[in-house]
Every structure is written in C-alpha cells, then in structure tokens.
Amino acid sequence: MAVLMEKTFPVRAGAYETAGEASTTIKRTLKQLGVSADVLRHVSVACYEVELNLVIHSDGGELILQVEPEKVTLISRDQGPGIPDIGKAMTEGFSTANEEARTLGFGAGMGLPNMKRNATEFDIQSEVGVGTTITMSFALKA
C-alpha cells in the first residue's frame, strides 16, 4: 500500500519538559488529514505513551508516523538499552521507571498495556544492548 505521508520526530532521553510535543504534532497532523475523533484518540494515547517511554527509558530514539489510505502506523525506534523481559514489561503495574519519572506521575506500569489496548496491531521487538522497536497500526474506518 502506498505511503501517503511519512514524518520522523526525534525524541531525546530524559527530556520531560518537551515530552508530548511529538504526540501533539502528530495528533494535529492527523486531525488536519480528517482522521476521525475515535481513531485520533486511540493514536494520541498510544503515541503519548510510546513517546514518554522513549523519554523515560531509552537512550534516545525517534518516532515515525506513516499514513496510508487504510491505516496509520507509528514506529518507535531507540538506540537502547533494550528490554530484558518483554513479557514482564507488558504486565500491567510492572514498571522500571526511575524516581524522577515517578515523581512526575509516570511509572504506573500502564504504558505498554495502554499502547496494546489502543492499537489495532501491536508489535514489540527488543534486544538488550541494541534497542527496542515498537510498531503500532491503527485502522482507518471509512
């Protein structure tokens, strides 16, 4: 399927002050493209969670937005540190967030489950010392 649009947003590790900016821009972009409110909400929640995960857990990475006629795809790619146990990380309530993140109200262990719940398709690949790639797609209903 032809990709109508692709945009990349770099996300810095530990940049709590600007966290959410990429998600806000992505939401605005999709809204302008006429994506329905329902789909927009699902993309926004998943996008914000994955952006926050890059800020909290990664050594830095990027978010890629792809728009096709049938679906929106979000890809999060980072440069490490990787997740040792994906099963554990996917468990609601499990979190390895540091004290700073917890003080700000993050680290509830809801991030990955929230993404999975909101995406139509969800895939996570991770290798310790290499990095993590999360691919989420959202079906666009007519």
Partner: protein, 117 residues
C-alpha cells in the same frame, strides 16, 4: 454543565481567562498518575490533579479535556500555564481539596467515568 458553570460551582480561580468557557463538561475525575489518566481519561473531562508540570497539559490536550483543576491552592508553574494558554486548556485553581471538589461536582450531577471492561 459548562466550564463557566463549573467555575461558579467550585468558586475556583480561572488561571487561563482566554481559554473558552462554553465547553461542555462531560464527567469528573481525580488522579495523579498520568499514565492512569491516559488510560481512563475522556473528552470533556474535568480532571483534578496535584501535578503541575507541563505533561499535565499534554495529557489534557491529547485527551481533549474540558478543564484541569488544581486543588488546595497549589500553584501551577508559569511555564505550564503558558502552555495551557497556548493549547487553550482551561486551568482552574481551588482552595478546596480534591475530595471536596469531587463531592461538589457529584452533587451537581456530574458523573464519573464508566469503567471499561
């Protein structure tokens, strides 16, 4: 209930006078874990939180909430208020506790959020 009526009901201070006040408030909520709010937030929600940093506005904006209410006279950082004004998110500050605010809103007939299965 509109945001304007919510302000009258709670006696809260309007920290973002330029944000629209005619928006309909659909439900009330109180929580300080942002990820939890992302999971359970709703459009049109009036959200009570003691968190005052920038990410509060990001969450409120992404969820298309009607208002954020800061209880117990807690001061929100100016940078956060500035972001709220940019995003046209209504921020209210109240001397009441989260519990008192919830009670007032519930008495006025504002519902909570239905639990999703």
């Amino acid at each position: 209930m509109t945001v304007k009526e919510l302000i009258e009901l709670t006696g809260a201070r309007d920290m973002t006078p330029d944000a629209p006040k005619d928006r309909e408030v659909t439900c009330g909520y109180s929580c300080d874990l942002l990820s939890w709010v992302m999971a359970h937030g709703k459009a049109g929600m009036a959200w009570i939180t003691v968190q005052t940093h920038m990410n509060v506005i990001a969450v409120a904006s992404l969820m298309e909430m009607a208002a954020v209410i800061i209880p117990e006279d807690i001061e929100m950082e100016e940078a956060t208020l500035e972001k709220a004004r940019d995003e046209e998110i209504c921020v209210l500050q109240s001397g009441k506790t989260a519990y008192e605010l919830c009670a007032l809103m519930a008495q006025a007939g504002l519902p909570g959020t239905p639990r999703e299965a």
